[in-house]
């Protein structure tokens, strides 16, 4: 039958409903006395971008490496693209793109040589030029891997996964340790992968990343999923939370922050305060009461307000809320 367009990344489904891209049931893995994954259930739909979100040591990497067929679980069921790892692992690997945490490619090879090596492993590799262009490493094509920046190395790692033209893409902490600009570049790249119809499963401990990229996220802690849903739904579950961002002009010269956290927390509806690069982030249950109280407070202190904006709470707030409650007094 004729394919409708040139894009052929989604095979015609024999069944009316395609199988989930990933199914985990009762997954469990221990290393000695440490329980890395504790009875974890998960289902990822085809075409979805799914994020495993959690702190270091939460079991994200163990979970994703079990999915990748690199680690055997102690118990539980794993179905990747409807297949089990013990049937035909090589055929399954043809359909997966994998980017591990902290892979160091050989520094003495060039970008092209590295990509060509990985292309040779697949029966139907994507053309070299297409992959180079996708990760924007065309200018560095003959540069040694050892000379690349952190962001470029990470894009090379993605290129080595993209050569598979994967149906399912696993990314373990794709932007950890990168500067903001490289991170944004990588996000654009992952979004491009999503547009090709590829299912993406990624781990991250950057809330911003999960919020921007993921259709759904699972918040993982101590090997268990403690919250699951779309980023928006998770935030809504917290209650009608807002964050008020403001900056105060330096009336009294540079140096010490002129406002104490205690003063801000005393404002009507205020729940918490964080600072980032001279900006105050004031969490509030009811912005319409906190904002007037803030303005009155600043007015009384004679502090000029440089910038003021309010936005809805982020996943970061959800995470602090959830794990804070779980971990407090622990």
């Amino acid at each position: 039958m004729p394919a409708p367009t040139g894009a052929a990344s989604v095979p015609p489904a024999p069944a009316p409903t395609p199988p989930p891209a990933l199914v985990l049931r009762g997954l469990r893995k221990t290393f000695g006395a440490v329980v890395a994954v504790d009875d974890l259930d998960l289902e990822v739909a085809p075409g979805e971008c799914f994020g495993l979100l959690g702190p270091n040591g939460a079991g994200k990497t163990t979970t994703i490496e079990i999915c990748e067929g690199l680690t055997a679980p102690d118990a539980g069921l794993v179905r990747v693209l409807g297949e089990s790892w013990d049937r035909d692992p090589r055929a399954l690997r043809e359909r997966l793109g994998i980017s591990l945490q902290e892979t160091q490619f050989s520094e003495k090879l060039t970008v092209v040589e590295t990509i060509q090596l990985f292309r040779s492993f697949y029966r139907r590799p994507r053309p070299l030029e297409e992959v180079l262009a996708a990760v924007q490493l065309g200018e560095k094509r003959n540069g040694r891997v050892g000379q690349l920046s952190g962001g470029q190395k990470q894009r090379l790692a993605l290129a080595c996964a993209l050569v598979a033209d994967p149906e399912l893409f696993f990314l373990d902490e794709p932007t950890t340790g990168l500067d903001p600009q490289s991170r944004r570049q990588l996000w654009d790249l992952i979004e491009e992968v999503k547009r090709r119809g590829c299912t993406v499963v990624l781990t991250t401990h950057y809330m911003e990343e999960a919020e921007r990229l993921c259709d759904r996220v699972a918040i993982v802690d101590h090997g268990r999923i403690i919250a699951l849903g779309t980023p928006r739904a998770l935030i809504v579950e917290l209650g009608a939370r807002h964050v008020i961002e403001f900056q105060v002009g330096r009336a009294d010269g540079p140096g010490e922050a002129p406002i104490s956290d205690a003063d801000l927390l005393a404002l009507d509806g205020a729940l918490g305060v964080r600072r980032r690069d001279g900006t105050y982030l004031l969490q509030s249950t009811q912005a319409h009461r906190t904002v007037p109280a803030l303005l009155a407070y600043l007015g009384a202190r004679g502090l000029p307000l440089d910038q003021l904006s309010t936005h809805s709470a982020t996943l970061e707030d959800v995470f602090v809320h959830l794990t804070g409650r779980l971990l407090r007094d622990a």
Partner: protein, 363 residues
């Protein structure tokens, strides 16, 4: 059964250069040649070693035997004058302490002391465990006795035969070749594998459909490719500069080199099968190589070790390799004649690969 997906065409037949084995082997070779230190240790070091040893131990037939005569009295002066008449001797008159020092330091092979009052007794002082001491004693004795009027009842004639193949440089070049094959097999494969494991590159490769056998085979192929260069450089240098003979067939030599190189590569793979750090692997490599450097007859014959440990010495792969190389190069031995050595090497090859593959840690 792989079914072709959707509208895409079946995979185009790939050129050999786009296949995993070719790509992996290219990677190995590229990594090697882009590491200047590795190139030096593999190619230049054995050549420099040959040059140094060949010059230090060059055969000097015109060299004289150095002896000292203890100064004091006319008997000593008389003995020195007689000895000086022989062109093979270089004689100096020294006092007691200087003579003792010269003997200890190897500057003279023998000290001659005269005892005028004791019936013209002559005393030879020399180290009887050193060949040059023993030779000097015979020569000096001979000269003294003849000059004193001894007549030899059996007439003799000297016919000098200087043959290539019996000099030290001829002995050491096959030994250095064997040592080089050992080093590059174990270091070349061992470090590359452990480094890839440490950098999690091994894990990344296993996450692709790469055939694992191709990964290991790439080491073997690259080893053979580099072997041609490293063995060729050393043998060519030895043959052209020092005239080291190559009496055996070239095919047999090539086969010995390939089998040896693979056996050492297998040892490298075995060493690298599990360690996660370079340090751990280095320890194992030294543990493997140092005994062979000592016992396997690189710089001196392994037959010098006592009979008690000979079974151990002869079972070492490098001993067998060195013996086979010397037999081929110096004696022109056929493959059948070096079959026992090749069997030992082949046994190491099979055993090390078999164990390495069984215990190999891919992650």
């Amino acid at each position: 059964m792989p079914e072709p997906s959707g509208g895409s065409s079946p995979p185009a037949p790939r050129r050999w250069s786009e296949r995993p084995l070719a790509q992996l082997t290219l990677v190995r070779v590229r990594e090697f040649v882009r590491e200047p230190e590795a190139v030096f240790w593999t190619f230049m070091f054995p050549v420099l070693m040959t040059a140094g040893l060949g010059i230090a131990f060059r055969s000097k037939p015109e060299e004289t035997v150095k002896v000292a005569v203890l100064a004091g009295g006319s008997a000593a002066a008389d003995a020195a004058a007689r000895l000086r008449r022989d062109p093979h001797l270089s004689v100096q008159l020294l006092d007691d302490s200087a003579a003792a020092r010269a003997l200890r330091g190897g500057k003279v092979a023998l000290v001659l002391a005269t005892h005028a009052g004791d019936g013209d007794l002559v005393e030879f002082r020399y180290d009887d465990t050193r060949p040059e001491g023993v030779a000097a004693r015979r020569l000096v004795d001979d000269v003294l006795q003849r000059q004193a009027g001894r007549r030899d009842p059996v007439p003799v004639r000297d016919l000098a035969i200087r043959e290539r193949g019996s000099r030290y440089v001829d002995f050491v070049v096959p030994g250095l070749l064997g040592m080089n094959l050992l080093g590059s097999g174990i270091w070349g494969i061992g470090f590359a594998v452990v480094d890839a494991r440490r950098k999690r590159l091994l894990k990344r490769l296993v996450a692709t459909p790469m055939p694992k056998a191709a990964y290991l085979a790439s080491f073997i192929l690259s080893r053979i490719a580099l072997l041609v260069l490293e063995a060729g450089a050393l043998l060519a240098f030895g043959a052209l500069v020092f005239g080291v003979p190559m009496r055996g067939s070239f095919g047999a030599l090539a086969l010995i080199c390939v089998v040896s190189s693979l056996a050492f590569g297998g040892l490298g793979l075995l060493i690298a099968a599990r360690p996660r750090t370079i340090e751990a692997a280095s320890g194992l490599m030294n543990l493997t190589m140092v005994p062979m450097w000592v016992f396997s007859g690189i710089f001196f014959s392994s037959s010098r070790f006592p009979d008690l440990i000979q079974p151990f010495v002869q079972a070492l792969p490098l001993t067998a390799v060195n013996n086979a190389l010397r037999a081929n190069l110096l004696e022109g031995a056929t493959l059948a004649q070096v079959a026992p050595e090749l069997a030992i090497v082949a046994a190491w090859l099979v055993a090390s690969f078999a164990i390495a593959l069984r215990i190999f840690r891919w992650q």
